[in-house]
């Protein structure tokens, strides 16, 4: 069988699963989209220079990080932590939060230092960003099929859009609850004997 065309990825040692909480999604995402990540980092620095744009920029980065959860990993990677569905979902969400907040912490501190009067926006930024990442994780596992590239159903895409378009935010919140329950049931097919 011929080897597939080698696609270049960033192979540097700065990105390691050990540093990213053992998350294959963040490791693969940062490696595959390294130039985009640098562009977003540059854009965030520009946003921080503006009085109001710093934390909204960081929130948009959280929504963008949800793209790391679009592809479905192979079954072996899913089973690697050897956890039951509930524990795995909790772990995935906590890892997503950990990675996002660790990577954006320097930008958040810079935004507060540059414009102390806008620091109150951080009170909205943190929960909304956490919610956007929670949605990305549960939406992925609600439709998880091993080793497939997920084509999101329309509802899930509207739910993702809800984190950018405020009118759709109630739909996103409802879908988050619905997908969390469905994700647990869906993962149970693959992880039932780890409980």
């Amino acid at each position: 069988m011929p080897a597939p065309n080698p696609k270049r990825i960033y192979a540097g040692r700065w990105i390691r699963p050990e540093l990213l909480g053992g998350s294959p999604e963040w490791t693969a995402g940062l490696r595959r989209h390294a130039p985009t990540v640098w562009i977003i980092a540059g854009g965030l620095i520009l946003c921080i220079l503006l009085p109001i744009a710093g934390f909204p920029g960081l929130y948009v980065a959280a929504v963008a990080a949800g793209a790391f959860y679009l592809d479905n990993e192979p079954r072996e990677l899913l089973q690697l932590p050897e956890m039951g569905p509930c524990r795995l979902l909790v772990r995935k969400v906590l890892t997503a939060w950990r990675n996002y907040f660790l990577l954006t912490l320097p930008f958040a501190l810079l935004a507060i230092l540059a414009h102390p009067r806008t620091a109150w926006i951080a009170a909205a930024w943190a929960p909304l960003s956490a919610l956007a990442l929670l949605y990305a994780v549960v939406a992925k596992y609600a439709h998880y099929l091993p080793d497939t590239s997920r084509r999101q159903p329309l509802a899930a895409r509207l739910g993702s859009a809800g984190f950018i378009i405020p009118v759709l935010l109630p739909l996103s919140l409802c879908l988050t609850v619905s997908y969390a329950l469905r994700a647990e049931r869906n993962l149970n097919r693959f992880l039932h004997d780890y409980d």
Binding site: A11, T27, L77, E82, D193
Partner: protein
């Protein structure tokens, strides 16, 4: 003892396996050749659900945490390097040490695993499967894509694993690499078990063609 009892696997309208019964003692290397061998391994690992029959060990269903499965053509998630794949396993189990396996099956550690050559992907698959120290190893065509010198290394490793209180079930499209490695060999064909051979009978088979061709039914 792993017991496979009257196993039937269907895919759509096709019956892939029907009435497969095997008794596989623990701490041994069991070979499987013939049509439906990969299906059998996937059923043991739980990827395929049997329509009828059961797979159990001492009366209990096999548990995923006891098993590791090497696919015939290992594939990896795009974006992860070989070092990442090994690092992910080490993240969840700090005790494992892949150094010895990497020496035996060299891989370009900083290359993207998904786009490596089939031989390198096989090497990486073997490393990832064996480094986890699972009790039951399911190896689907472990000799495929390997260079002749690596086939010898793999055979030595299998002998070592069999003596290490692990149960190995491996498949192959040829009988030759299994000689001197397996404690017994099952020949599948027509959806069922056509024959079973003890290790001392393998040398007499003297067949290196397609499985089932010219092999006497036992």
């Amino acid at each position: 003892m792993i017991t496979i009892d009257s196993l039937r696997i269907r895919e759509g309208k096709r019956t892939l396996l029907d009435g497969v019964t095997m008794h596989l003692p623990k701490n041994a290397v069991h070979g499987v050749v013939g049509e439906g061998r990969s299906t059998l391994l996937r059923a043991i690992y739980g990827v395929l659900q049997p329509e009828a029959g059961s797979i159990s060990e001492a009366g209990h269903p096999l548990q995923h945490q006891d098993m590791a499965f090497l696919e015939a053509d290992p594939h990896f998630w795009p974006g992860l390097t070989a070092r990442d794949c090994i690092g992910l396993i080490r993240y969840f189990d700090h005790k494992v040490n892949p150094e010895a396996l990497i020496r035996r099956f060299p891989v370009p550690l900083d290359a993207q695993a998904a786009t490596m050559s089939p031989e390198a992907r096989k090497h990486l698959g073997i490393i990832l499967t064996l480094m986890r120290g699972k009790r039951i190893l399911l190896l689907d065509d472990p000799f495929r894509e390997l260079a002749p010198e690596r086939i010898f290394v793999m055979q030595q490793l299998l002998l070592h694993l069999g003596a290490e209180e692990r149960t190995v079930i491996l498949t192959s499209n040829r009988i030759t690499p299994l000689e001197g490695v397996c404690d017994d060999l099952y020949l599948l064909g027509g959806g069922g078990v056509r024959a079973r051979y003890e290790h001392y009978e393998l040398g007499q088979l003297g067949c290196d063609g397609e499985p089932g061709s010219g092999i006497p039914e036992n």
